[in-house]
Amino acid sequence: MSRELEEEVGTAGLPTGDLTLGQHVGSGEVPRYRGGSRTPGWDDAVDLTKDPATIPDPSTCHVPEDLRAEIEAHMAKYPDTRSAAIPALMAAQKRHVWCTPEAIEQVACVMRLTPGYLVAVAGFYDMLETRPVGRHKVYVCTNISCSLRGADDLMDRVVEEIGDDPDFNVRSFECLGACDIAPMISVDDVYVGPVALEDVPTMVAQIRAGDEVLPEQQIIRRKSVDPNAVST
C-alpha cells in the first residue's frame, strides 16, 4: 500500500498518485498515468473502453527476459508457485520503481495469474507501491519508540531537506524493528540510527551521491548493548 488513504470529510477526490508524472491523455475525463494507464482509486469509475483484465497472453505480453528468469526462479522455490507473488512483485518493482500496471501485467503473464490478483496483493503490503513514487526509499520510523525519541521532528526535517525531489520516496513508517537506535531511518533497506536532526543534510547528500549512508550509524555495525547483561 503506497499511501494511507485520507478519510477526512471533504476529501472526496482522494489523492490518486502524482499525476504530474504523467500527462492526461484521452478524453480528459479519466486521469491517466504516462503510458495511458488509468489511475486507480476509491473515487474512480472504471474505464469502459478497456477490455477486462484477464491473464495476459504470452503471445501478446512482452516480459523482459531477465525479469522472467528472476520470477521463474522465485516460483521454483515453492511447492505452489503462487507463493512467489510477493518476491515476484518486488522484482518487478525494482525494475519499474513502482508496481506500474505494466509491471503487474508482466508478473501476471509469467505467473499465470490475473493482474487483479497481483494488484490486490501489492495493495495490501506497505513496501509494494501501487502509485508512482521515487526511486530512493527513505522510511522514517515514527512509531511509539522512535517518536518518544524525536522521530516526528526528524520526519519533518527529512521532508524539508528532500523537498519535492521526485527521486525520493519519503514515508513515515511503522516500527521497523530497530527501536534500539531510535530515532531511526531505513534508507534503501539500510538501517541507520540514531539520526540526529543535524545528520539529515549529510544523509540526503550521501543518498544523492550514491554513497554509503551514515556508515557509523548503520545497525549492521552495532554491537549488542550488553551481551552479559543478565549478570547485573
Partner: protein, 832 residues
C-alpha cells in the same frame, strides 16, 4: 468423489433440542430449531465460511469467547445461546460498527426494502449510534462495468463479491485494494469487471453497494412481483425469477434450483431480458407483399400461410430452433407430418434415430450434479462457458471442492485448461478420428493412425485413456463425459467408439457416471424427444418413412422438391452451417413461414409470412434440460397485443386444413405430448412442479425408452476400420474451426445493456502461424477459401494449436458459416 451421507446429531439452542446433520454450520442448523442467527458474509454457495463480518456471534457453553455461528460446525450435545445479553451486546456492537460509515441513504437506494442490512439492523440492531465523526464519503455511484454500478460508501466489506470473482467464477478480476479501513472493492488499473458471470455479484451483495445498471431506479420492492420460470437462452436452462412491474420485465434473478444451476446465472440470462421489450422485436404478423414484409392483420397472415401450405401439396418441411418448446415442436411435426403428409422435420439433432437412442439410453445419462461429484470428467468437444455457461461453474466447483479430476479434449484451447490435469488438442473436425484413437488406446488397438489423422499426439491420447481408466484409484471411478453434440456430426464414426468407451468405463447403469451431451441449442433434447427429427416421431418412435435432415431440406428446397419451409424460432442463415447453400435454398422456396422474434437476415430476406413469436417471459409450455429434466415455462407477463402463442397459430393452421386438433389451451398440447411419448407416461405439468423432474429417474419411464433398431449398438464394434482424413495442413492453409460465443444471440443483440458484448469477428490463431504469415495481434485480416471470405481481427493466443484457425459462428455478419472450410487462408486486409 461420492456424495457424503449426513448423520444427524442433537444439540440445544436457546433451550430447544434440535436435530441437525453433524458438522452443519450452526447458522444453518439453528434454522431447524426456528432460530435465526444474522449473517452478512456467510454464503454457503461461495464455499468455506470466512467469518469476516462477525455478525453471527453466538455463545457456546464451554467456549470462553463468543464464536461465529457461520463457521462453527454443530456437534452432538452442543449447547448454544443466541439470546443472552452477551450475544445481544455483541450483535449490537457489530451492527453499530457496520453502520458507522454506511450512508444510510436507504430512501434513494435500490436495495431498500430487500436489503439484508436493513433487515438485520431492524431485527438485531440497537437502533442508535454514538458515532458523531464525519462518515467516509466517496463519489457514487460509479461504474464497475457497463452492467454493474458500485457505491463504495454503502459497501460493508463482506467479501462476497470478491469471493465470487475469485473462488467461484475464478475470473479473479474483482479484488480488494489496499487494506484495513481503506479497503475497497475494485479491479486492476480501472479495467471494467466484465466476465460471463459478473452479474451474480449484484445478487450476492447484502447491501446496495453493487446494483444493476439496467435496473437502477426502475422499481421498488413493493412495486414488483416476481415470477418464476426458466431461462431459455441456452441449454443450461437456469431457473429464474422475472421481476415484473406493470407487465414489464425489469430484472432477472436466480431462482435457486441446485440440481440445475446451483443458484447462479450468467450475464446473458441476467440481462438479456431487455430483448423482451426491445423496439426491434416483431410484434405483429407480416406478409411479404411486393418484395417487402408488411404488417397485416392476423387473419390475413393465417390465410396466407394456410394457402401456401395447401398449394405446396405436401412439399413442406419444418425446421425448429432451440427456443422451441416441446409443445411447439410436437405440434409442428403434427402439422408437417400428419396434416400435410411430409416427412421432413428436423431440429438439427445431428444423429439418426439409432444413434439418438443409443446415446440417449437412460442407463447412460449423467446429471449436471454428477459433474461435481464424479471422479473424473472428460470435456469433449465443447467450451462449456459458451455452450452451456452455468456448467462451467459446476466443473470448477468440482475441481475446487471435491478434487474432481478434469480432462479436456477440444480443438480450440479451453478456458478450463488451467483447471484440467490434462488437455488434449485435436484438429478441428477430427472428432471421429480422435475418439477412435482414444477408444483404441483403451483396447490396445492402433492408436497412431487415428491419432495422426486427428492431428493429435498419440502419447497424450494414451495418457488420457490411462487417466480415465484409473480415475477411481486402481480402477475406473465415476466418469462423466460431457460432450458437445456438435461432435456427433461425425455420425456413427463418433458414436461407435464413444459408446464403446462408455462400455469400457462401465458408465451404463452407474449412478454418478455417464454421458451428458450439450445440444447446440436450448431445447435440443426436448425437441428430439417430441419427435422433431427426420426419422422418428414423438417418443422417438420408429417411422415408416424417414424425412430429410436440415442439410437434406436445404438440398430439397434447392432442387424444388420442397417448396414451403416452416421455420420455428430459427434462422438457417445463422443457425445452420453452409450459409451460401441455405441462402440459395431459401431463395428457391416459394414460401417461408417463420415464427420469429427478431428480424434476422434470413427472415428479413426470405420469409413470406412472419408470425411474431412470444418471448421467453411470455411463454407457457415445457422444455427438457440436457440431463433429461422436464421443466415448465410459466408466463411472467402478458404478450404484446399483436403476438399470439405459437401453439395457437399451429392449431389454427391445422384447423384451417380441416383437422380437429383437440387443443384448447397449451396444457392440452402438453397432455397430448405426454400421452404420445411413452417415457413421459403419467406426467402432468403439476408433477413437474417448480423445479422440474428428470423423467428417466423413474424406472418405469426409463424402461419405456425405445430399444435401438440395431440391437446392441453399445456392444458392437465397427467391423471395418473407418478411414480418416489426414489432419495435416497443406502449405499456408489452416484448418478452420468454429466456436459460438455465449454472446452470439439475437436476444443479446436486442438488449441495450449487453450491446458492448456483441461479438465481432475475430480469428484466433497461434503465434507460430501468425509469425509465418506476418500477421500481428489486432491486425485486420481476411479469412477465406473457395471464393468466400470474411473480415476478422487477428487474435493471437499462445495456446492456440499451430495449423488451425478459429472463427465465430452465430454472429450477424461475417460469421464462420460463410466459409465452407475445411481449409482457409488468412491474409492481411487490403485496407486497415
Amino acid at each position: 468423489m461420492p456424495r457424503p451421507e449426513p448423520q444427524f446429531i442433537t444439540f440445544s439452542i436457546d433451550g430447544r433440542e434440535v436435530q441437525a446433520p453433524a458438522n452443519e454450520m450452526l447458522v444453518d442448523a439453528a434454522k431447524r430449531g426456528d432460530v435465526e442467527i444474522p449473517v452478512f458474509c456467510y454464503e454457503p454457495k461461495l464455499g468455506a465460511p470466512v467469518g469476516a463480518c462477525r455478525m453471527c456471534l453466538v455463545d457456546i457453553e464451554g467456549i470462553p469467547k463468543l464464536q461465529t455461528g457461520c463457521s462453527t460446525p454443530v456437534k452432538d450435545g452442543m449447547v448454544v445461546h443466541t439470546q443472552t445479553k452477551r450475544v445481544k451486546d455483541a450483535q449490537e456492537s457489530v451492527l453499530e460498527f457496520l453502520l458507522i460509515n454506511h450512508p444510510l441513504d436507504c430512501p434513494v437506494c435500490d436495495k431498500g426494502g430487500e436489503c439484508p442490512l436493513q433487515d438485520v439492523s431492524f431485527g438485531w440492531g440497537g437502533g442508535k449510534t454514538r458515532f458523531i465523526e464525519p462518515k467516509r464519503h466517496f463519489k457514487k455511484p460509479l461504474e464497475l462495468s457497463p452492467l454493474v454500478a458500485i457505491d463504495r460508501e454503502r459497501c460493508i466489506l463482506c467479501y462476497r463479491c470478491v469471493r465470487f470473482s475469485q473462488e467461484l467464477s475464478e475470473d479473479y478480476q474483482l479484488v480488494l485494494h489496499e487494506r484495513g479501513a481503506a479497503t475497497f472493492v475494485g479491479t486492476f488499473d480501472g479495467h471494467p469487471y466484465v466476465a460471463p458471470f459478473s452479474g451474480n455479484i449484484i445478487e450476492l451483495c447484502p447491501v446496495g453497494a453493487l446494483t444493476s445498471r439496467p435496473y437502477r431506479f426502475r422499481a421498488r420492492p413493493w412495486d414488483i412481483e416476481n415470477s418464476g420460470s426458466v431461462c431459455t437462452l441456452c441449454p443450461a436452462q437456469c431457473n429464474v425469477a422475472f421481476t415484473v412491474r406493470d407487465d414489464r420485465v425489469l430484472r432477472v434473478m436466480a431462482r435457486d434450483n441446485d440440481e440445475v444451476d446451483d443458484g447462479w446465472l450468467c450475464d446473458k440470462g441476467r440481462f438479456a431480458y431487455q430483448s423482451v421489450h426491445a423496439e426491434q422485436r416483431i410484434v405483429a404478423p407480416m406478409v411479404r407483399d411486393g418484395g417487402v414484409l408488411r404488417e397485416v392483420p392476423w387473419a390475413r397472415a393465417i390465410e396466407e400461410a394456410t394457402l401456401a401450405l395447401k398449394k405446396s401439396g405436401g412439399r413442406v418441411a419444418g425446421l425448429a430452433g432451440g427456443a422451441t418448446t416441446n409443445e411447439e415442436g410436437f405440434l409442428l411435426q403434427r402439422l408437417v407430418r400428419d396434416v400435410h403428409g411430409s416427412p421432413h422435420v428436423d431440429s438439427s439433432a445431428g444423429l439418426p434415430r439409432a444413434g439418438l437412442l443409443a446415446m440417449g439410453d437412460p442407463a447412460l445419462q449423467a446429471t449436471v450434479a454428477d459433474l461435481e461429484f464424479a471422479h473424473t470428467v472428460l470435456v469433449l468437444g465443447t467450451e462449456p462457458v459458451d455452450d452451456m455457461p452455468i456448467v462451467d461453474l459446476r466443473l470448477r466447483k468440482g475441481v475446487r471442492r471435491n478434487r474432481m479430476t478434469l480432462a479436456v479434449a477440444t480443438s480450440r484451447p479451453s478456458s478450463l485448461d488451467p483447471n484440467a490435469v490434462l488437455s488434449v488438442r485435436y484438429a478441428p473436425g477430427a472428432e471421429a478420428a480422435f475418439v477412435a484413437a482414444l477408444s483404441a488406446a483403451f483396447y490396445g488397438g492402433d492408436v497412431d493412425t487415428p491419432a495422426r489423422a486427428a492431428g493429435t499426439d498419440a502419447g497424450a491420447v494414451a495418457e488420457l485413456a490411462a487417466l480415465l481408466r484409473t480415475s477411481g484409484g486402481d480402477e475406473a471411478g465415476d466418469v462423466v463425459v460431457l460432450y458437445g453434440e456438435r461432435v456427433l456430426a461425425g455420425g456413427e464414426a463418433v458414436t461407435q467408439p464413444l459408446l464403446k468407451l462408455a462400455g469400457a468405463l462401465g458408465l451404463s447403469g452407474r449412478a454418478g457416471a455417464g454421458l451428458l451431451g450439450i445440444p447446440a441449442a436450448t431445447n435440443g433434447r426436448g425437441l428430439r424427444e417430441a419427435g422433431v427429427v427426420p426419422d422418428a416421431g414423438p417418443g422417438l418412435a420408429e417411422l415408416a418413412t424417414a424425412g430429410a435432415d436440415a442439410a437434406g431440406i436445404a438440398a430439397s428446397l434447392t432442387a424444388g422438391d420442397t417448396t414451403v419451409l416452416y421455420l420455428m424460432h430459427t434462422d438457417p442463415l445463422r443457425d445452420q452451417p453452409q450459409r451460401a447453400t441455405w441462402d440459395r435454398a431459401l431463395d428457391k422456396a416459394t414460401h417461408v413461414i417463420a415464427h420469429a422474434g427478431f428480424m434476422t437476415e434470413g427472415i428479413r430476406e426470405h420469409a413470406t409470412v412472419v408470425f411474431p413469436a412470444e418471448s421467453y417471459a411470455e411463454k407457457e409450455g415445457t422444455i427438457v434440460h440436457p440431463d433429461g429434466r422436464l421443466q415448465r415455462l410459466r408466463p411472467a407477463i402478458g404478450r404484446p397485443a399483436g403476438v399470439r402463442a405459437a401453439w395457437q397459430v399451429l392449431d389454427e393452421l391445422m384447423r384451417a386444413a380441416g383437422v380437429d386438433t383437440g387443443l384448447h389451451t397449451v396444457h392440452s398440447a402438453t397432455r397430448q405430448l405426454f400421452e404420445s411419448v411413452p417415457f413421459y407416461a403419467g406426467l402432468t405439468v403439476d408433477t413437474l412442479g417448480g423445479k422440474g423432474l428428470r423423467w428417466w429417474e423413474d424406472e418405469a419411464r426409463a424402461a419405456a425408452w425405445p430399444e435401438p433398431a440395431k440391437p446392441g449398438l453399445l456392444a458392437t464394434v465397427a467391423s471395418s476400420t473407418p478411414t480418416y482424413e489426414a489432419a495435416a495442413t497443406p502449405n499456408g492453409a489452416l484448418r478452420l474451426g468454429t466456436f459460438k460465443s455465449i454472446w452470439a444471440s439475437p436476444e443479446v443483440e436486442a438488449s441495450p445493456a449487453l450491446k458492448f458484448l456483441h461479438p465481432t469477428q475475430r480469428v484466433e490463431l497461434s503465434p507460430v502461424d501468425a509469425e509465418r504469415l506476418g500477421i500481428r495481434h489486432g491486425e485486420h485480416v481476411t479469412v477465406g477459401g473457395d471464393g468466400a471470405s470474411v473480415a476478422a481481427v487477428a487474435h493471437l493466443r499462445n495456446e492456440s494449436p499451430a495449423g488451425s484457425a478459429f472463427l465465430q459462428s452465430g454472429i450477424p455478419e461475417g460469421a464462420a458459416n460463410v466459409l465452407e472450410g475445411p481449409l482457409v487462408e488468412i491474409r492481411k486486409a487490403q485496407s486497415t
